[in-house]
């Protein structure tokens, strides 16, 4: 690898159209999968692909508004914060993502702000 990369560098993970609207794709890492979501308004969010309830893969859920419903027990998770929709309690770590000219970049370091982050 020629260029020097830091873990704080944005990593290009693909294009907007790689993810269906109201859908998600998985980015595999050696520290676990990250789910990358696309809303109806083409906003992009990334969360640890693990529901705070029983570890269900959020990437496989139904995306609606800025939420995803976990496929295992239908917990709803806020895409922007990773926090479970009340009255459920819990949080999936979120990752910074950005969209530039339809290219999606990810910072593979969980943001702070997830209480009891695991």
């Amino acid at each position: 690898m020629s260029a020097v990369m830091k873990q704080t560098d944005w990593i290009k993970i693909g294009n907007l159209n790689d993810i269906p609207r109201l859908g998600a794709r998985v980015v595999e890492t050696d520290a676990g999968n990250i789910a990358v979501f696309r809303t109806a308004e083409d906003e992009i969010f990334a969360l640890r692909d693990k529901c705070p309830h029983k570890g269900g893969p959020l990437s496989q859920g139904i995306v609606h508004g800025k939420r995803v419903a976990c496929p295992l027990h239908d917990w709803k998770i806020h895409l922007d914060t990773g926090i479970a929709v009340a009255p459920d309690e819990g949080c999936a770590a979120s990752f910074p993502v950005k969209l530039e000219d339809e290219v999606i970049y990810l910072l593979p370091m969980a943001s702070d702000g997830c209480p009891n982050n695991s």
Binding site: Q7, V27, E28, G55, I62, H64
Partner: protein, 819 residues
Amino acid sequence: MAEKLVVIGNGMAGIRTVEELLKLAPEAYDITVFGAEPYGNYNRIMLSPVLAGEKTINDIMLNDEQWYADNNIRLHKGKIVTQIDRRNRKILADDGTEESYDRLLLATGSNPFMIPVPGNDLAGVVSFRDIHDVDNMLDASKSFKHAVVIGGGLLGLEAANGLMNQGMSVTVVHINKTLMERQLDEPSANMLRRTLEARGMHFLMEAQTEAIIGKDRVEKVRFKDGSEIYADLVVMAVGIRPNFELAKKSGIHCERGIVVNDTLQTYDPRVYAVGECVQHRGATYGLVAPLFEMAKVCANHLAMHGIGRYSGSVTSTKLKVTGIDLFSAGDFTGNEQTEELVFQDAARGVYRKLIVQDNRIKGAVMYGDTIDGPWYFDLMRDDTDISDLRENILFGQAHLGDSGHGDDNRVAAMADTVEICGCNGVCKGEIVKAIVDKKLFTLEEVRAHTKASSSCGSCTGLVESILASTVGGNYSLAPHQKPLCACTEHTHDDIRKIIMEQELKSVRAVMDFLEWKTPDGCSKCRPALNYYLICQWPAEGLDDYQSRFINERVHANIQKDGTYSVIPRMWGGHTTPKELRAIASVAEKFNVETVHITGGQRIALYGLKKTELPAIWKELNAAGLVSGHAYGKALRTVKTCVGKEWCRFGTQDSTHLGIELEKLSWGSWTPHKFKMAVSGCPRNCAEATIKDFGVVCVDSGYELHVGGNGGVKVRATDFLCHVKTEDEALEYTAAFMQLYREEAHYLERTAPWIERVGLTYVKERIVEDTDNRKALAERFRYSQQYMQNDPWAERVEGIDEHEFKPMATINLNELKRVS
């Protein structure tokens, strides 16, 4: 700028409306609330347990002052509005406070009726309506002995029970021959009276109060016949009157209450009214359930959604006296056109009566064991034809075959540790605690907070009973016309009708046309809409994968660890050495952890990675194996026995028919999963009588059975009819599946669907009406030509490739090393 909404009345109806409004349109109004009482909003129906010492005032507060502040609502408590100036749209309170409004909501409730006898204003004479009255009674119980409660209705008996719990000697005075004559018939009223007498309550029946006697404080009560009894406290509980004085004074049309239309508007369209002060279609209400229904509709109109209509409520009652189970709904006296079904067991103290007209329940009275009250009430509100249930209906829903919960039916007597929801492991104590702590009123709220009844739903009846016994019966039953989900006010049936009439052809179009409340629905409505569209327009290729649950999107079953299972179809339970070899080789090649024989006569492979699925399918396809749709709301399997081909008892070729049925119906999407079976003789080895559609072969042909279920709630099938040939059996199957596909609600199995619409209806459409049966079968076959493509083969060819590949792979260790 937000419009100004002024609410007069800080009780349950007014605040419930505000809460509903905040949910729909939080920014639409600048809200001001006037309340005559010096408190926040409390749960008036829970005053009885407070009086009985079972709860405290704090337990029953619904919204404290912080809630008003948090929602930017100005609360004027302890202020009585004395004037409405409708011309200038202003109101005036007794302390001089003035407030202008764009819209006004009257929720002034009701007043206790004080019978006009001399002495009714003496000290020690109280009504039973608010916290102040309860305080008065509790004070009196500390220093006095003799209480007289005038009125043997619901409220009077609750007051009497409370005072007795506080140590007073209580006599209930009632003008009629029997107690609670508006809710109970004579036998049940007598049972109630005997129970209360055994607890030490005294009764004076058919006694008309003439005067209340005393100097400074009440001393005696005198009756028309000249007799007298001692009294230190007199509670008037003879009824309530809608409080509409303010409305009337300001020129709003009132009769027995404030007259409102179906959107809860008075004759002045800027002025709304809800709750006990209202008269709607000639009826007034004194219970909480109708008031919640009104609040919903009123909020909807205030939020300018304008699609809700209030069409009146059918109410049910329970008595909030600990240890007494009593339920009453609808017309319980009957007339010349009605019949009575009665069950009475005096020794156990159980009484049930149903009033039935044209095989529809018109009313119910229950005493002693009320577990089935909500069920009868549902049948009544759904206007269900009960002719198929009559034989056992009085024994309750459990006798229709609910094996899941056995005898765990007496909710009130259950220990807190009894598990109610087996799916989510929720015990009774947790549910009760959530209801009390979080102040829950509805089944939906209990589901959201505890998860009880939110998975398979078999414990729904139990959870409703716990809700009823915890909040005292007067809880809010699930509304009769259930909206599809929280994203809309429209029901399943409405939505299907509109999809057809308006020729709507996408999930988006349905949401736009019906003004969905959320931007793109939720995990509940999107799959339902997608199904309704596919069912209505099979030829148009409308399937929206993003509205499919994951299993139907990737054509495999997600497991708890995120891996998938794969189950190929085995037609009619038949397989071959070639198929078995292919399965075995796939299992070895892909390191399948578990190979399992399913209950539907197939072989399942477990623990597969999503990314491997297309490769696995490719190998299975090569051996002729296709998707078994074991993951879908779709035709699952047709289970068979070997029939007359081998069995010495077999009467017909059951395996052949099973294979034909599976070939006819595979690939079809249905409201919920759909299972079939064919047994070769009445010994029924294929268990056809617990399937959605079952065939039992007999010597003379084929018996067709429908609506069975072996899962959550065991239900044996209903017998549909007998046919002579395989071709007829196939036609009936197609017709039945199509009727179910077109008319059941999404996620409704055939068993509850048939219980809802009645077997008689299904027979009318399929057995008696030949033309209709043929048309249904034709529509099914038409739809099937577009559905019978193996989804596995399609994905092997590259459809939805993105589903089975990661978007990117990042090696973090690598990144760390180079940094």
